[in-house]
């Protein structure tokens, strides 16, 4: 399977001999030993360091169908270089738009996204509820689980998308309030804050969500779906909102579980973060570890129930896109992915 490459250090990426060459450059402008990346093995590039590149390289990447995602100094996702669409399907596009325009059809899909997200959230919470049963007596998890279940029950009766977004927001708020109980004393949640995140935990969530969003975007690119027409989130200008919809379903399983795992195993410590003016940032080494763990969990495989074979989490995202396509074309009703373990 093709790999995602993460460029953390400053340097120059160029095309040479029909493949990619990365030359690290340090602060004084000295070039390090170049490393050749086998172009046939690269699925997409994540750029965290400052990168020099020219149009010859982008032409080449475009031809090879490699997307490049950029993150700024504060680890915010800033944008992507998307190669020309290579899987064009007018029929798909028309159907996707039709489903967006008709309120009734749109609600069906939007509800499915919220339902999937809520179910996966519940799965995570129940797992930690089970584990903490003997460890800590006083616990807010069962309460929150009940609240979320109630909210989930009101999803099918929601009259319109803004109401649905409201329910979704309430679910997330209840969910985030459980983080403190799961994580213990090292980090505290203190409410969700973004742009910029105000504390360590929020910094982790922001980075993780961003990675999940870009992973979804990369997978959508390899299907006929148009990433700009979304159902739950309002499609806006200059952003790929369908990836936001998809990310809702996978955030609890990919990002939140990763954060819990890394914090509880003490792979991340308060000393891995530094406060800057107005926000909290993850330090270089910690960020790399976080990315490595995230990449590893994307590659992790599970035995798929209906396919009867092992699929990676990354492929699972793509399967989700296929299911949505089938729904749009009226072949099969869309059922959101729900973790069953």
């Amino acid at each position: 399977m093709k790999q995602t490459k993460y460029l953390m250090n400053p340097g120059r990426l160029s095309r040479q001999d029909n493949t990619l060459k990365f030359t690290p450059v340090d602060e004084e402008g000295n070039e390090g030993q170049p490393r050749f990346l086998p172009v046939e093995q690269v699925s997409d590039l994540y750029i965290f360091g400052s990168l020099d590149a020219n149009s010859a390289l982008y032409n080449f990447l475009g031809k090879e169908g490699i997307a490049v995602h950029f993150f700024d100094y504060y680890e915010h996702y800033t944008g992507s270089f998307m190669p020309r669409e290579y899987l064009l399907a007018g029929k798909m596009q028309v159907e996707q738009t039709k489903h967006y325009v008709s309120t009734k059809k749109r609600m069906v899909i939007a509800q499915a996204f919220v339902e999937g997200a809520a179910c996966n959230i519940l799965r995570v919470l129940k797992y930690y509820d089970n584990r903490s049963a003997d460890r800590r007596k006083a616990n807010c998890l069962p309460e929150s689980i009940a609240t979320i279940e109630q909210l989930l029950a009101s999803v099918p009766t929601a009259p319109d998308v803004p109401t649905l977004m409201g329910i979704e927001g309430n679910i997330r708020q209840t969910y985030y309030s459980c983080f403190d109980a799961i994580l213990g004393e090292t980090f505290c949640m203190d409410g969700r804050s973004k742009r910029p995140p105000q504390n360590e935990l929020n910094a982790m969530i922001s980075l993780g969500n961003m990675l999940c969003y870009t992973a979804c975007l990369s997978m959508i690119y390899h299907t006929q779906l148009n990433p700009t027409i979304s159902f739950l989130h309002e499609p806006g200008a200059r952003r790929y909102s369908l990836a936001l919809d998809m990310a809702e379903i996978f955030k609890p399983i990919l990002v939140d579980r990763l954060i819990f795992r890394m914090v509880n195993k003490r792979q991340l410590q308060p000393s891995d973060f530094r406060m800057e003016v107005g926000g909290c940032l993850m330090k270089e080494g910690a960020r790399k570890r976080f990315l490595q763990e995230f990449d590893a969990s994307l590659k992790e495989t599970i035995k798929h129930r209906s396919l009867g074979r092992s699929v990676s989490y990354k492929h699972l995202i793509k399967l989700e896109c296929y299911k949505l396509q089938k729904h749009l074309l009226g072949i099969d009703a869309y059922k959101p992915f729900k973790a069953w373990w």
Binding site: Q3, Y6, T19, P38, E40, Q41
Partner: protein, 87 residues
């Protein structure tokens, strides 16, 4: 499949072979490459390699493995180049 590829070429052809292998696999040492390939990619690679090689004089050896996890890699001395995805 996970592949280790080594070659021994005449001086005239060695550069071409290097460039070809760089497109598909990670360079780890002079004339040695490793990496994950699909069946089709391996066929492509071997097809191209045959066109470069002089099969009377040169040789190319492939070590194939079903998965990287069955491969125990040990490095003695300097690691010339890592195959890490984070750089």
């Amino acid at each position: 499949m996970y592949v280790i590829l080594v070659y021994d070429m005449g001086q005239k052809r060695v550069g071409k072979m290097l460039k070809l292998c760089r497109r598909y696999l990670n360079w780890i040492q002079n004339s040695v490459f490793e990496g994950e390939l699909t069946e089709v990619q391996l066929k492509e690679l071997l097809y191209e390699a045959r066109r470069i090689m002089n099969e009377e004089e040169d040789s190319l050896i492939l070590f194939k493995n079903r998965d990287q996890k069955w491969l125990d890699k040990q490095i003695v001395g300097v690691e010339r180049q890592s195959t890490d995805d984070f750089l």
